[in-house]
Symmetry: D3
């Protein structure tokens, strides 16, 4: 069966338990996550087959990361291993007026040492039904950027639909290239994009009056792009957000209902849950209106789940879209 | 001293810690609970003596369940033991848009193997001041249904007041009988009932326009029944509910204030806390208006307490009724 | 470098985990705290040097308390040790309609056995830039009251500014003296006070119509007092409070914005965080308007942090004052 | 049914988890225990009915202690409550070359405030089949000593057999009396004693050449005493001890086999487990040789169980005596 | 690539933490295990591909069990799901003189409801390089016994080597058949067996003077059987065992060195680790002498690992065989 | 007061809880440690003042590491901070036949970015009573090696005694220099050394017949060196070691008693505890025979304590030397 391919770094996340501050923590909770793998994991819970391409250290940490992906149902047969270190990040959970904090420690990781030619993209893409990447990968290292471009080119070659989550992060991009040298070539090969106005300004130099105009300009520049989606997040506090998803189909903006996230458990990976919802919707032939409702509901559910990944099934998401089971005790 | 008698299965509850999903849990928290025993435990905390009748496995799990009841002050001297298994259930706590989930694993338990004649109800009811049962017991097995009927008959014989929590659960009732074969005989012996319109429709075939009309019809059919109470629950989300209690006294509906349960800790057993509050009110001679306020406040407090049982004292409930101590730090 | 001196008992706090009730707790979480030391700790996180004066048992519990203070950066070189016991308190965290509970067990502690002359206040105050005490100390024992008065007198002698948190607690004051025998002499040496109308009535016999009038009368009686501050707390529930800080400068009331504390993690020590914010503001030359905003923001942040002490830095507080980072994920 | 009566203080034990030192502990594990109550609890697990007499604070800590005793099956109906504090102790578990440490904090407890006349010993002893006390109680306070003597006198009056565990602890005995003023009157009323040579020297002024001669002298002085038992403990390290039990029947010394305790889990309460084993043996009519084997096996099993109390059943102890199940996996 | 096939029930194991007794446990640790799956998991860590055949409930518990197997690398593509319950067992860890205890609760599980024809053994065995079963499966239910026989027959048909772990457990076998009705047909199809004298007596009616004679008789009766192995375990205590492995090759007994297991962490699954070691040795062409050393070393290592499965790699086992790294800190 | 100065990296240690393997760990326990800081911490517990020189990241991880050192009493006023990462290592605890494993992740840390001139060694050494370094520091980076040499030179200049723990680790030394280019200059400035024959061969090219001859040769080459000490460790298993300390005083070998470490809790930092014991002995004027007994007893005690550092006091070590308190319960 053809698989949805995701490419990206997976990090060891070490988070202070509950609402403890870093300096209070006597142990750190362990999960593994990374934007693109989170998408693949979520798709597996939705019932679609996913395969994640990454590179891990050969140590037990790399094996543990592989085991985690495999437990969720992700095909790990294309994962590479090298002598370098595990990328990791430390998380302190915020609460009400206190923001959450992340300390990244991912430089010089096994993934950053990916090099052109290490992955046989022809063989991967022959068995692919979709390819997803994010703007984090080309920001990590020249090798990672090269591999991402290889993947996109191979996907095009085998007519595999491509989605990209722009996700521009200024703190990355330290290997010499600037974002506008790299991203345009990647974006122009995408069918589906998650991105907002500042992403487009930073990556493509596009300025616009509002999201719709920005999308129009992106699509004019990048003819392959068919849909552009984004979540709008209103942060009342660290514990209480509101979210709404929108998708531009080239002509029209489809908006989801607004979810009132009154008691947030974990917002890491919420954008990835949204992305997975979009892919699921488009892949399974939903309309854009249905897709944006599904994706936003998936995103809302992610906020109730500990860790980086959304473990909700498609049924669970559909039930939320239908407004069923809210506040219920399912026996 | 005469005791309030409760009859029912007590299960081992295994719950995923915090908001972990079943698949994330590396340990499960252990408590013991069951609808009727929860009522008895709560009454002990209110200062009334209670005795629980049930049947446990002879294993250490049955002993641990007995120890738990005994620690709360419940008289466990009439508990039976047999070679069969412990009933158990698995709980996953929901949060905001994610519903809670229960996986029952209670079939073929030591309680389900209860048989007519195993319990000397004459000796039990001679020393009883009240008897409470729920609709879960007759749903479990023919033997459990028979024993429940024996108990109700014996209670009547010794003029012991009887309360019943209808609590119709479709998933149970798998031993061959249908609910309307069994429940009418039990309900007609009750003085006090908790139940709602769908309970009455399912168990008694009564359809009505609204709760008050339903209650009138129930009372017409069942002359012993003097009061019918229920909680109305508005589920804004898994984390936020509103509750209000009402009691129909045959002529008039008494409504409690509404409690805004903005941060739910554990709603399992909230109905049992309400039931215990009703019994406490009626047993100690409160008016219906006072009783419904007390019972609903007890129900509200249960939502703040981990586990199946309400460990609030009568004073703590009264303070909430009076609006005292809200948000206080009692030193 | 001159240090901010705080004097007071530090207790071992033993709290039931999460929302467990005392009777459910199978372990108790350990922190160390006390009103005045909490102020000193918070000042260290703000970047000001603090030294805490107290008396601990010589046991490992006293050493552990010292280690905790030292870890936060507090100078512990003036701490005394004796053969008596550790003061301690037990905490049960409330939730929504259930109030929090504290069981104090602090009588006859090493601190209560402080005696006049044990501390060389001349040498301490020569190197002091501020002195802070609270109304808890003179309530503990005759010796503690004597030592507090010694400290205030020595501070005056060396022109060290003095702040006092009136904090009248009826349950203390069991050693024979009544509050009005002791507090007036302490209050009259203060430059800065935290207190409210009932504090002033209890400690000084001042009755007034509202906070402003009360402050005027206090200042008329106590000419050294330049500022009087207090937090107003609206308790919607144990989980949800609103707070606002005010300071009277002798002529005018300065009010902070209102903080909506929708998901309280731990409110113990919130008043101490406020006090530390006031001292920081006044010490570093902020205006009263700035000071009250800073102090109230500090107080708001404390509610999001587990334990007795506010570990927020001055930058974190300033960011909240500016409204930055709210609900953010700081990467 | 007549009950075995035990009298003594029950303390809240707060122990550092695992092998953590006090200064490392971020939480403390909670159990409740006290020498004489430990004996009563163990007897309940052996199948004999026990009732414990003590005095607790009225706080939730006193209630939690009561709940713990009740959960084990001990009758708590004679427990008194007062306004004073809970006695408590802190425990750090040693390991190999590192000794265990206890910090007592039990002065001025509710139990220490026991006074003559508070307990109706006539009514207690009418329903008693045995009475057990230890040398800790008369060491705590004059009131506790008085109550202990009242109990012994009442036991004699109703022909209730009396056992005493001498257990001399120099650190207690701070209320003015010296041990030889108090203990002789208590010991002379005993039928059964646990004690060793230094106990007899300290309490009775008896010096002797070896245990047998000491026992002979004790029995000559105290005609009621019929048996004297003791455990011999060889401490190879904190993790590895050897124990052997002996009993002197007035003429002959009976020795148990030696148990090699190679991996000690918790040795607190091992002497109490031994005492309970002796009472069980003598009460149920075993010979002295059988009794000492049973008691020493019980003592050995206690070392494998966390907390103060031995939860082994009589069958489990008998199986160890028979050498069955050693190292087995009982399915 | 052809896979090693294992067939058997996988249960949810709920174990009291550390050395807590069942009645002390406030949570239970969760792992998943079953004799045959444990063999498959261990083989995956040794680097051989394994596929496990079983039947789970459709609930989240069944999914979690699948995830666990998959995380270890086991192919779960042939797992079936049904509406019935999860088999489970409760474990209390013994220590020194206290035996470990298991409470099984596995009757009527989804696995017990396996029926002839549910699994397409032809397709499974076409891609098999080995088949392993144990005596637990035919003991569970008629259906499970039938399916086990189907598997063995299919394996023979496709010339797949078959190993069987006799593992006779009297408590199982409650569905009507007796062991000698069922086991002979299964054993006669085996190439490799783990079993001891009492197994052979119970299952085949063979009595003999010692293990070697018993093996000779088994091989005479069952011509396919080429090797019979067993571990000899000396139980000094629950914490200290000695083990030695032996294999009979039809002519000669090969004995491994003796391992002194002085501090046992978890002995569940030690026999399965031994079995996996045997399969690894025979499958990869080791001599019997090498194989028994490898298998016994694997068994020894399992005792140091928490849970049911041996996660040691082949390198780790080889290092122990060579005596390398003992007591080392591998940096 | 002059301080004992230690220089070296302090890492965040992340260890799998109990005996969990890396792949089983769902959280990792957090401590901070490093060879030289461990020595300083231990000296603080012995009652000597210590100051640690290191460089941390400016992040909360660096602050938390500082807080930990400060809590133990170490003077942290000379610690530097930079923008780089925290060095860290992952630890899996072995057991019996399973070795412990460490995964280092310390390259490119803030400490590795130390540069010549960053530390004002003149001002540090003016207030120093001792200087201690280890062979780990010069192995980390050119900058670290330079700073270590600066320190040794400054110590000589101010007549501060110098101790060095050779501790040669092949895996480090990746920055271009080989060990023999760097170590001789450092060793020749030492008064006191910990090292063994392979250390001397690797670092100094000295080959010898046994420890005594090696020491003689080292001293001939390095005239400042007055004492050379080492621990001899016999590894029976990961859980059971024997240790013995020896010191060569230039003429004679002093040997300590042998400690039988039958149940090891944590052996990390045992060599540092030994080193601290040596410094304590020499610094306080003990004889070599006394010093080696003290140091080896300290080393033995470390094995019973969780984490990297020995928190034993000098009294606790002395008691072990005297053989007091072994296996006791100190009340």
């Amino acid at each position: 069966m053809k698989k949805i391919i995701t490419l990206g770094e997976v990090m060891l996340r070490l988070s202070a338990p509950g609402f403890a501050r870093f300096m209070q923590a006597r142990h750190l909770d362990v999960v593994y996550g990374g934007s693109e793998a989170n998408v693949g994991v979520s798709l597996c819970y939705f019932g679609l087959p996913a395969l994640h391409v990454t590179r891990f250290p050969e140590s037990d940490l790399g094996k543990a990361a592989t085991q985690t992906l495999r437990s969720h149902g992700v095909d790990t047969s294309e994962i590479l291993y090298g002598p370098e270190r595990m990328g990791l990040y430390f998380l302190e959970n915020g609460n009400v007026h206190r923001p959450s904090k992340i300390i990244y420690d991912r430089f010089d990781s096994a993934f950053a040492h990916l090099k052109k030619g290490m992955i046989d993209w022809d063989s991967v893409m022959k068995n692919a039904s979709w390819f997803h990447w994010s703007g984090i990968t080309p920001a990590i290292s020249q090798g990672a950027a090269d591999v991402c471009l290889e993947a996109v080119v191979a996907a095009r070659k085998y007519n595999v639909p491509v989605s990209g989550d722009i996700n521009y992060r200024r703190n990355l991009w330290q290997y010499g290239k600037v974002v506008r040298d790299v991203m345009p070539a990647l974006i122009e090969s995408c069918d589906y994009i998650i991105g907002g106005e500042t992403d487009f300004e930073n990556c493509l130099g596009i300025t616009a009056n509002g999201f719709e105009e920005a999308c129009s300009k992106v699509m004019k520049q990048n003819l392959a792009v068919k849909k552009i989606a984004i979540t709008m997040r209103e942060c009342i506090s660290s514990s209480h957000n509101k979210i709404e998803g929108v998708v531009w189909d080239g002509k029209k903006l489809h908006q989801s209902r607004v979810y009132d996230l009154t008691h947030i458990t974990d917002r890491i990976g919420a954008g990835d849950a949204f992305m997975a919802g979009l892919i699921y919707g488009w892949f399974t032939g939903k309309t854009d209106a249905q897709t944006i409702e599904f994706a936003t509901a998936a995103c809302a559910l992610k906020h109730t789940i500990e860790g980086d990944v959304n473990t909700s099934t498609a049924d669970e998401v559909e039930n939320l879209v239908k407004g069923e089971n809210i506040g219920k005790l399912l026996r």
